[in-house]
Symmetry: D2
Subunit: 367 residues, 4 copies
């Protein structure tokens, strides 16, 4: 099998290559009755569009979403929603050279090893353009979650050594800053840092963080479909992500039980809450009512313009210098992808959760 389907009840099936005729997604399991139009999708797609800021390639990608099914008179019908984005500005000639050799850090070699050959144009299916389908589906999942009082917000936490200060976090800054950082000062420093590294023909990595607010306690299915386990699959499946953390993440390995446990208390409305949130909103794989916090570490763009050692398909050792248009950092455009994958995962598990108790079944069917 190929693994382009994700989800149990809200199932997305993505397709498309960087330089094929189009890319898209089919979403099976969207509840009926949601108001939905192409603009809802476009807002998300525009966030991953290149060319709008100094960090990204000057390629022009129009990426216009077309809804082909599942919506009638402005509302979802409950049947699969197919969304397509035509590839318009791809020039295959740019990539003809890389057909013959394996770019370091890319999937060229592994695709050839698996399938015997590959669509080498722009990385084919392993291109970042593959995420268009994820983001289109994420737009819908996010809209549904917002109707249930849940927000999913992802941002750039760091780029190379430059870390964002979250004290004055604002969603607006995330959406307007080219780095997707919620901190203007760090945004400036990061831009400068990236610019310097680009001049050195090099690329840089960074960290994305997603915060999900409003998820009720009880979401996540033990033991393999835990909320953190499926979020990890979802986020690690994004190209270039090499590590995933929940809550305090890697720090927990050097902490003590006395400092890592979150004490429970009662809030002003007499509801149970956690006084701290080291757990990142998840205990035993199930949401605990606190904010859900997940981080992803993203590697530097493998396409760099300095000379590298590699081999070609004939097994000859060669030197290569990659040409073309490549972002020196993946993170800012990947933020909306991570946000989308998190939204899809949470919604999917909220759907699964509906049949967890007899009380739930009775409430649904007996009145």
């Amino acid at each position: 099998m190929s693994g382009s389907i994700f989800g149990r009840n809200f199932r997305i099936s993505t397709w498309g290559e960087s330089h094929g005729p189009a890319l898209g997604v089919v979403i099976d399991g969207v509840p009926a009755g949601l108001e939905l139009c192409e603009e809802d999708i476009q807002i998300f797609l525009d966030r991953r569009k290149p060319g709008s800021n100094p960090l990204s390639t000057p390629r022009k990608e129009d990426d216009k979403a077309e809804i082909l099914s599942g919506v009638f008179e402005g509302k979802t019908t409950g049947t699969p929603i197919s969304i397509m984005v035509r590839n318009t500005s791809q020039k295959s000639s740019d990539y003809s050279e890389i057909a013959s050799y394996y770019r370091p850090g890319h999937a060229d070699y592994t695709f050839d090893a698996k399938y015997g050959f590959r669509d080498y144009r722009g990385g084919g299916r392993s291109s970042g353009r593959e995420t268009i389908g994820r983001v289109a589906a994420g737009a819908i999942a996010s809209k549904i979650l917002s109707k249930l009082g849940i927000s999913v917000e992802c941002y750039t936490k760091s780029i190379g050594p430059v870390e964002a200060d979250l004290t004055d976090y604002s969603r607006e800054k995330v959406l307007s800053n080219p780095t997707a950082m919620p901190d203007d000062k760090a945004n400036e420093e990061a831009l400068e840092f990236v610019s310097k590294m680009r001049e050195k023909l090099d690329s840089v990595g960074g960290v994305m963080e997603c915060r999900i607010k409003g998820v009720p306690a009880g979401i996540g299915e033990p033991v393999f479909d835990k909320l953190d386990a499926l979020l990890s699959q979802a986020v690690m499946s994004i190209g270039a992500v090499k590590a995933v953390e929940i809550g305090d993440g890697t720090e927990v390995s050097t902490k003590f039980g006395s400092t890592n446990n979150d004490a429970f208390g009662m809030d002003e409305n007499n509801n149970i809450y956690k006084k701290t949130n080291h757990s990142g909103g998840i205990l035993g794989g199930i949401s605990d009512g606190s904010d859900i916090i997940i981080r992803a570490h993203v590697k530097p763009t493998p396409s760099i313009f300095s000379e590298q050692d590699t081999v070609n398909k004939n097994g000859e050792v060669i030197k290569v210098q990659i040409k073309g248009r490549h972002d020196p950092i993946v993170v800012p455009r990947a933020v909306v992808v991570m946000e989308s994958m998190c939204a899809i995962t949470v919604l999917d598990l909220m759907m699964s959760n509906m049949s967890s108790t007899m009380d739930g079944l009775n409430k649904f069917y007996n009145n």
Copy 2:
């Protein structure tokens, strides 16, 4: 749905609570013709057994594996293999007190929030004993992989601040040292460190690392069932794991493309190889022929003996002091769980991979 089933072609379905009559697993999709006996399972189960070293609780758990189906005349038949371990030494009385309140860092609260009530004895389904089924299945997956020339070896990389030196790595040390560290000196230091923290009624965390050798290039299914994505789900689904890294992991976010890319070269047998392995054996979600390296960060045992704040089911704020027998660190016994989950995931994807090409189908069916 509940999420106790894992895998696409090699599918495991685990069940059982800490203090129920038994725990176990059904494995659907074991190839026919594998020699298998209960001893194969027992060797793995014994590695997660407590009581055999100073780091673990003095509870006596016999954990005898019984194969109930799927094996005939010493060989697997291709039908589901059911493995059961009876609970023998569990005393429910030990746990009656915790029925009424929510232990910090545990899943007590989230299970109640999800299901309305819970089997509070020893943590019920959220107990570490849940992993018995995983390990029994892992024993089988590992045996199959070994027939295909693949080894899966997991070890303790660090406990608190004590890091193992991997220079003289030996599997024997991992299996004999109570810390599961492949380094005698670090083993001693770690034992001392844990012992000190235990005296302070506290607990500690650590890091596990798994190295998988011999996986051919080409395993993993883009885009959601990538090898790293499914490994992340598999490993993050283990209780107490809060972060997962592939290859250089979190380090990549501060690295440069020039230092993070692995150059390709030709080895003495004229095969393609990577000169370095920052990628951890995975490129584009597909194995690249190098060792696959995955790390998990494990939080300190939430059961500590010092006083903690919490609330009870009536919403009253209380102070609690957990009693009973609890390991001050999870890591050494979790090593075989991580090894098992990695083996299951790799084998499952190797099965999926068999239908990836027409050449493969032809080779299989046309001669």
Copy 3:
């Protein structure tokens, strides 16, 4: 993969061979809060037990259900329920002869072709005893459905040429008559017919019918997980079933639209209903509020005592005469299996249906 897992949200994983140590099922996705005890399971298992009537083999099978997990203080916890039945009266010696040849009408040859060898004792995994796991799971599904006002009742419709008259249908007769027919007269005639054929060393087939009452309109997921499609998989997966019909079934192919369409009307409570039920309660793969009716045609037991032609594993043509204890008809004991599979399927789709609309999600999560 092996195919011993069924269901999307209510997922059953069955295991076990005729002459292995035990058989059973793990059910993943049982809602928490259902009162459940072993007696609930036993009532169902007893209905498939042989030896209690003249139609069935004199083998004594105790088939005592043991619940191993997922139930605490008399209620389901939401975690997997494992149920095991020990094999007690199986004598392997009875079957040693059939190890070497392929019984006509049995799965001996196909199992060998697939797996290279087989557990030949009593048919191994292809034995009717395989259905123990289905029936145990069906007992739970049926109990849940009954809480939602839904009844699932299966009965023998015909045995050979003897057809039951359903005019005075009563569940009690189905449960007490050895044929499972809801008609005493037909029951007598069928017993006589079977007895006569048994004397001729032959076996007979029959028809089972299942009627499901109380399913609300709207259950079933277009287009592949239609209610009738999944019921067909569920029922056809029962050994010996060779045809499945919904509503008027095979008759529709010679009918006209004018006589096959069911007119809609308004009932005394001002609810929409269908004046007739040719559709068998399903339109477009979705329940229409009428009784759901499904029939299965069951082949004669392949184990007959007269001489038959076959081949052995060495490819030699031989004559065989099957010995041992075999029911001359499968139907009466299969009735509870079909009832179980139908209950599981309907419940599973009712769970899937919960996330079909935004109204449903809002009702569930927003108040």
Copy 4:
């Protein structure tokens, strides 16, 4: 969840409504290296196109297949193949009237009951046009199977009382006769019969049969994913099918073991074969090497032009007379749909089967 995804390893995800912008399918799991072009798809789609014979509606549907992904330089790449067909000749105005009431025999009422409202134009998702995605995927599955020496041929077996004589079966007649019958005489009689019923403003049903040749013994996964069980789901999921038979099908219920069992023998090449094929090529849910035979009973088109009783959305009892363009029989155009579903199912199970034995794994990976 919505149920528009089918298959385990060869997974199809269909989408689209009768009068939406387009319909299509994404196929995840097509092996790399298959030569594929749009003409391969078009040949299949043309077989379900209306307007080419007296039995079908005069609607003009162009149904041009466009391959949007997964094919590069004329060969499949192993990544998802997306195929789209634009809706061109749909006029929504034709259907405005039916928005307000429930057509007998249609899914109007059940879609409203499930989703709260529906895309009423031409039946929306429950339209026969939904099958475009199935047929496009079936074209690919059939092509792959043909490379493995397997043919899948479906034809019309009967229309109303007119039964085709299969003695001189020829694929060419199936493809050229407007009834899709492999018998010219029956074809003429059926045309006349349908024509007569159409004049009476009525519609008729029929039977389709599919014969699959060349499947090796051993395909199918016990116990729920049996070959016959999944074929039943696949075929019953086709709109208007109300019964499915394997081999002798419904006849088995009145047969005897002595006449229903197929004796094994050795053929001239010293291979095992069955002397008869009552089993329809499947024993114990696994292919037995004989032709696989499956039949589907199709109800008369529910859209008839005579007056019918029904109710409208306001719960008022009304008389309706359906207008528009509707085939008086579904069967001839559904033949290619059944053929497609059978091909998809067989191929999917052949993929699953590849990991059934250690020998298979070793053969694949160790040389």
